[in-house]
Amino acid sequence: MIREFGTGEITFILLAVRWTLVLSAIAFAGGAVGGLLVAMARISPNRWLAGSAMVFIRFFQGTPPLMQLFLVFFGITIFGIDVAPLTAAAIALTLHASAFLGEIWRGCIQAVPSGQTEASWALGLRYGMRMRHIVLPQAARIAVAPTVGFLVQLIKVTSLASIIGFVELTRAGQIINNATYEPFLVFGLVALVYFAICWPLSLVARRMERRFARIAAR
């Protein structure tokens, strides 16, 4: 029973985009909080803290995102807890994003010239004040472009959640393809939708990069 690829099918795919966006938003928001903690831990003078943060980062950099997803999804079910695909995907991608954003932001924090820290010390500003008022605001400017760049990666990585049965954009495409046998049409449309989300973000990232390069050169 092959179905025609019509407006109903197109609508089904387009509506599934919201789940891609929801998952991306959760992972990005969670990753932002986690990433800041990881970055601060990574540059901490406490060796134990810095070491654990590094192990965390290395693990997520050195394993495929799909394995990370499987580990969370099947790992939780081992304990007899039934976990919804969205929950598993959200946890896995939040951890994934925390590691990557943590490493990106560590670089940005350390890119703030050491003279800024010395001037803060000389004025008597303590650690918290120095981070909050001097270092982080300057690191944030440097961080905008690579952070938006990572968000684009993250949106594309959410397609892996289709494999554990979470119906987002890619999974919706698979479902429609199984019914219509129009793979080129279906996945062409799916790819186009990803592109329509990601490309503007890439443009924004590139524009910001140029803008901050200009400011830095002043």
């Binding site: 003279g115 800024q116 010395e118 001037a119 000389a122 004025l123 008597g124 303590r126 004040m129 400017r141």
Partner: protein, 253 residues
């Protein structure tokens, strides 16, 4: 804690006893003894790598000394982190590269430390900032960002920023070395004003004219040691040590 000076008998502004400092295996400071009185102006000179910057950077613990004791205004800097905080509140520092905060206006640069460290309210912090910006003669630049100012103006802002904390002691680490020649004078004039008002100052510089005019004592350092200390006329006209004479010969010709 009050901003002004105490009423007790004034201790030395800085006292160093047998201070030693290493970077890895390189010994940057060897057995330094130094006593700086309140109100004294000291110029420190010497060839590059002689340890002169390291010496003043040890006085607010931007560099930790590994041996010896350092007292600043009677507080033992080498006795723990609480004292480091206390000392940093009382010691102003001006850097070769200015190190202004680029994301803040001149006004914000001057107001942040009094507000966050001294707990001064915004109105008072800004009043104080305007006062010191007038003293360094750039009150009209208050709302600009550092990148919009010339090097000389930036360095004067850096001086005003340090003064806003009402420090008892000012350290200058080659304050004119990064400046274009035509801007050196405006910064030196600001420092001369400050000296005439009685500020205790330690200045690492190659500006020998400034040393002659302002310094109570000139210290010559070489290879991490204090080689010679003398009032400027004796230092320049009749230096005792061969190394001092060699150095002065190199810079004056």
């Amino acid at each position: 804690m009050s901003d002004g000076g105490g009423s007790r008998d004034a201790p030395s502004a800085v006292r160093m006893e047998g201070v030693g400092k290493w970077f890895g295996t390189f010994q940057a400071l060897t057995d330094i003894d130094l006593d700086v009185a309140q109100g004294e102006r000291i110029v420190i000179c010497g060839p590059s790598g002689s340890g002169k910057s390291t010496l003043i950077r040890c006085m607010n613990r931007l560099e930790p000394a590994q041996r010896g004791k350092i007292f600043v205004d009677g507080i033992e800097l080498t006795a723990g982190p609480k004292n480091v905080e206390k000392v940093r509140r009382e010691v102003g520092m001006v850097f070769q590269q200015f190190n202004l905060f680029p994301h803040m206006t001149v006004m914000e640069n001057c107001a942040i430390a009094p507000r966050k460290v001294r707990g001064v309210d915004r109105v008072e912090a800004e009043r104080r900032a305007r006062h010191y910006l007038e003293r360094v003669r750039i009150p009209e630049q208050a709302e600009k960002y550092p990148a919009e100012l010339s090097g000389g103006q930036q360095q004067r802002v850096a001086i005003a920023r340090a003064l806003c904390m009402n420090p008892k002691l000012m350290l200058f680490d080659e304050p004119t070395s990064a400046l274009d020649p035509e801007m050196v004078k405006e910064v030196l004039d600001t420092m001369i004003d400050l000296a005439q008002e009685g500020m205790t100052m330690l200045v690492v510089t190659h500006e020998m004219g400034f040393a002659r005019r302002v310094a109570d004592r000139v210290i010559f350092m070489d290879r991490g040691e204090i080689v010679e200390t003398a009032p400027p006329d004796r230092f320049f006209d009749a230096p005792e040590h061969k190394r001092t004479r060699a150095f002065l010969g190199q810079i004056s010709h």
